[in-house]
Subunit: 603 residues, 2 copies
């Protein structure tokens, strides 16, 4: 028997209000692992790659993984698969918390939204009952208000994923936020949801998924938990200090940049915003996601009430990256991102881009208003953290993301983005796996399709010297595919500090009964990766966009342990394309596609 | 005939929900000028001076003046008369905007609220129709939300005066805010309103008041308007730069203090927060009150939306007084004060008191949380501007005002208050009229019962050297009584830069038909002043509380044109008591009371 799937999914046509239940294609499920992979298979089957992301015909799929909602460690994730208005790529944006597990418990393997509702609505799914409900009076409300109102009206143990004003205003970095502080943050998926007049999805009580091989599961599960509890990162570092534990580690590694990557290599006051400092100041307690033994989530105090976060990437992006080392400002801006519904990494990077442009005289005073976007100006960060969500004044330009901002002011090189999406908190000049990951991620600049920091900085096997060329491309390919396995499964990536591919495989096989070999599951992962690549190529995104901001290629890191280093991107890419079985220009070879059973989808 | 009054007022018993219309005692109206004076007469008639301000038996009176709602220049003011939870004195807290005029247009000379509603309610008054309506779902909402919701529900041309979370939480410096940004700010009247479960008062369409002598009025009115248009303060300074025009003037006069009056006399960067700087940065446009030809109100931009203010006193109190010279922070904190409903002067002074105490090691770290209240910390100002309204954490201590804060931490001398109310933006060591006004105001530390700055700094007749002893007490008595005339009338004090007592008298006589002589009206004003004094004495507030914070008496101003100066308070008070016809201890003499026809109310 099969577990982890019910074999049914929901299709919601928002234009007509029609709700249908369809049978899940279980061959696709196995071939694409489920979750994000399965959703991607359905997505490419239904969407023209050239489609306008805001077209009613652009499907938006919410998909938990086969393991999501089980009690496997960290089985909390769900994905949104659609086409991104920020990058024009296919996207998959990922969130934890409780929404994904409850979505899974509804008994549907995923929800495919198509069309556009004539008025604002929310979807309500309660143990088999599915309703499209009026949300006219919720439109305009922020994430906190929307979540509170739906909880108040519906009551019980519900979970709300919704958009805020940023989504409604089609801000290109808008997020979909669940439980107020967990976000499918990247790639502007909140704006796609808004374009469908879909304000929220509410899920409530339901059933735990079936486990295909319960006896195997009962052996595998405690083994995984033991490994997680014995690993210092997953049992201590992340638990005690959250993702913010990285601040001092990354800074000491010489890849912590400041001020839109104009300063890098050694931030003498990074500790002012570190997880250790947070733990001594604003931290109230941990907030674990569903089924998580790690509990990296932070509940912090803000103006005497509770907020959550900030995560490491958010802290860096809204903080030192904008020249700000004030935790209050960072927590406030991070809270605004959750409340108004947008991505913290892209927001901070867009602010820092604006600051560089302004300080270089590229942005005239009349465009920015009274609070000048200068590095280190906490007031500017707070102001921009509001205006961008509402597209007010200069916020209307920030709402487009850093790439369009930098192009508008004639300095495209000032946007720290790849394919239009802003990069995360690692200077790639000192960590070449991340350089390659940034350049080749199918959703534009992302650190989460292959978190090679684990292997290059944090000592996770296979270990790789951060700036050693040999084997780097192979590492990145391997980690990308392994990550695809993790992401499709519905587990978080954090257990991978303690668990290896075999462990994930054992869990997936026990739950699904798919009985994958290691080669089979990695091939499935590779299949998803290549399918995304093909979609992007069909969408018109050429391999020439596998680039990095030029300062990472031309200018050496100014100080610290990696002083002088740059990214040898062309050589890395050549090697990577080869590892991927792509031609020298970056197009998948016919034999590669055939080998992956993707012949049907070739260019 | 009589004008400016209808001869009817409303009595609202919130306990029973009973609404009655009573006839106005017109003898009292003339004897106490109307408005605040008349309300005070009714108040002392009904309230035991020893009453708990939060007792249902403590009446709260909303009173426009006889001129309010006419088209006389600045005829926009209304007063709240009750007993203050901050000072324990009788109080009158004053606001402009449109609410006062619309309240007058309802046809009621005032509204006396007594009792306590069993649930949250608001009062709705629409051209003769009076209803007590449920406000359960408005309780907990902030001022902006409450105002928006009532406007949305009721529609039309209404005006809302309401309390915010600060009032609901019985914050001792809570205000009653009308039109979102105009506040009866001082003395905690918002907490008294909250103690009655009265969330808001809504007034709507109605009639202009009757003018007793329209022919005289038609002569007097254009004369007043001409004077206002010809005076540089009322036609240019206040119009162009708002009350914030004072920043540079007061700073140049050597009476602008910083950091809880630990620094004073010359702020080299005061211009960073001046009206001139505001006009070049955050100012969008003017916002005049009803019937106002001056238009000192500022509409400013905050996070891309509109806010109002900040006024001069607010800017100083939340800004340089806390060591902050950042307009964004000041505008944000000022906006929080309007949104959450509390007084800006007392709030900033309470924050600065906390900063002094914290920097001196009087407040332990555990009491204040992660954002440390240090001078110049913009984050601390922003945080405290939220927490105090909700009584969260350290905000629960701030909510009590600076006097109780300083006493709690064993440094009563660190509270810049008189009788428990925080002082305004003038260092009294360099302006002795203000010293005496602060010390003797019947509502505790106030600059608005006698704005002698006009005479001592701004050249308004009668001019008085700021630190010349001779004639100072007489000046303060005169200005206090003249101010009483202005305040009772319902006009703003700002025309007095251009108009003198004769002008106000002509307007009042034309509107009311009371045919006052100058002596008669000044005697009426003095009657109100002495009645308040008697109430306070009966309430247990001894003349010994006519004091100033000791640093103003013991420590000379450290720098600037007034370097070394202190306040000779005892001598000033002796002279003042004599001018008032009070004995040397500060008690009104029997003959004085008899002369004022106050024999009935003696101690």
């Amino acid at each position: 028997m099969t577990g982890g799937f019910t074999g049914k999914f929901l299709r919601i046509d928002l234009t007509s209000g029609k709700i249908t239940t369809e049978n899940t294609n279980m061959k696709w499920a196995r071939d694409y692992i489920g979750g994000q992979g399965l959703a991607t298979r359905y997505y490419v089957d239904e969407a023209d790659p050239k489609i306008d992301p805001y077209s009613p015909d652009n499907p938006m799929i919410m998909a938990p993984g086969p393991l999501t909602g089980t009690n496997a460690p960290t089985a909390a994730r769900y994905m949104i698969v659609t086409k991104s208005p920020l990058t024009g790529t296919i996207t998959r944006s990922n969130s934890g918390g409780y929404f994904g597990a409850k979505l899974k418990h509804t008994g549907f393997d995923m929800i495919i939204f198509t069309g556009k509702s004539p008025k604002p609505v929310y979807l309500f799914v309660d143990d088999g009952k599915v309703e499209i409900r009026d949300a006219s009076d919720l439109w305009g409300k922020d994430v906190f208000e929307t979540t509170d109102l739906l909880n108040e009206r519906i009551g019980g143990n519900i979970s709300v994923a919704c958009i805020g004003p940023a989504g409604e205003n089609l801000v290109k970095i808008a997020s979909v936020v669940n439980e107020k502080h967990r976000a499918a943050g990247r790639n502007g998926v909140g704006a796609v949801m808004a374009s469908k007049n879909l304000k929220a999805v509410v899920v409530t009580k339901g059933k735990m998924p079936t486990i295909a091989e319960p006896e195997k599961y009962r052996v595998v599960l405690p083994k995984m938990l033991k490994k997680i509890k014995e690993n210092p990162v997953t049992s201590q570092g992340l638990t005690q200090f959250g993702t913010e534990v990285l601040t001092n580690i990354i800074n000491r590694s010489g890849i912590y940049s400041e001020k839109n990557a104009t300063v890098s290599g050694d931030d003498p006051i990074a500790d002012e915003v570190s997880g250790e400092t947070l733990a001594e100041t604003y931290l109230l307690r941990n907030q674990p996601c569903f089924a998580c033994p790690i509990g990296c989530g932070r509940v912090t105090t803000l103006n005497g009430r509770e907020s959550e976060g900030p995560e490491y990437e958010s802290t860096w992006s809204l903080g030192p990256n904008t020249g700000v080392h004030d935790l209050y400002t960072i927590i406030s801006a991070n809270d605004n991102a959750d409340r108004l519904g947008y991505d913290t990494i892209s927001a901070g990077q867009t602010m820092s881009c604006a600051m560089e442009l302004y300080e270089n005289g590229k942005i005239p005073d009349k465009d920015v208003g009274p609070t000048k976007p200068k590095f280190g100006n906490t007031s500017a960060v707070l102001e921009m953290s509001e205006t961008l969500a509402y597209r007010r004044g200069f916020g209307n330009i920030l709402a487009e993301g850093s790439k369009r901002l930098a192009e508008k002011y004639g300095s495209p090189e000032s946007s720290m983005s790849v394919k239009g999406q802003e990069l995360a908190a690692y200077d790639p000049r000192g960590v070449w796996g991340m350089a390659l990951e940034y350049a080749t991620s199918n959703i534009g600049g992302s650190h989460m399709r292959a978190y090679t920091i684990s292997n290059e900085i944090l000592g996770v096997e296979p270990v790789s010297e951060p700036t050693k060329f040999e084997g780097k491309a192979a590492l990145v390919k391997y980690v990308q595919d392994f990550t695809e396995v993790m992401d499709c499964s519905g587990l978080c990536q954090f257990p991978s500090f303690a668990l290896n591919l075999d462990d994930y495989l054992d869990l997936i096989n026990a739950v699904t009964g798919f009985d994958y070999t290691k080669d089979e599951i990695m091939k499935a992962a590779e299949r998803v990766w290549n399918m995304e690549r093909l979609f992007n190529l069909k969408a018109g995104i050429k391999p020439e966009e596998d680039r990095l901001p030029e300062r990472y290629i031309k200018n050496g890191i100014p100080k610290g342990p990696n002083k002088g280093k740059t990214v040898p991107l062309d050589a890395l890419l050549k090697d990577y394309y080869h590892e991927r079985g792509w031609d020298e220009r970056g197009y998948p070879k016919e034999e590669t596609l055939k080998n992956l059973d993707l012949g049907f989808y070739k260019l």
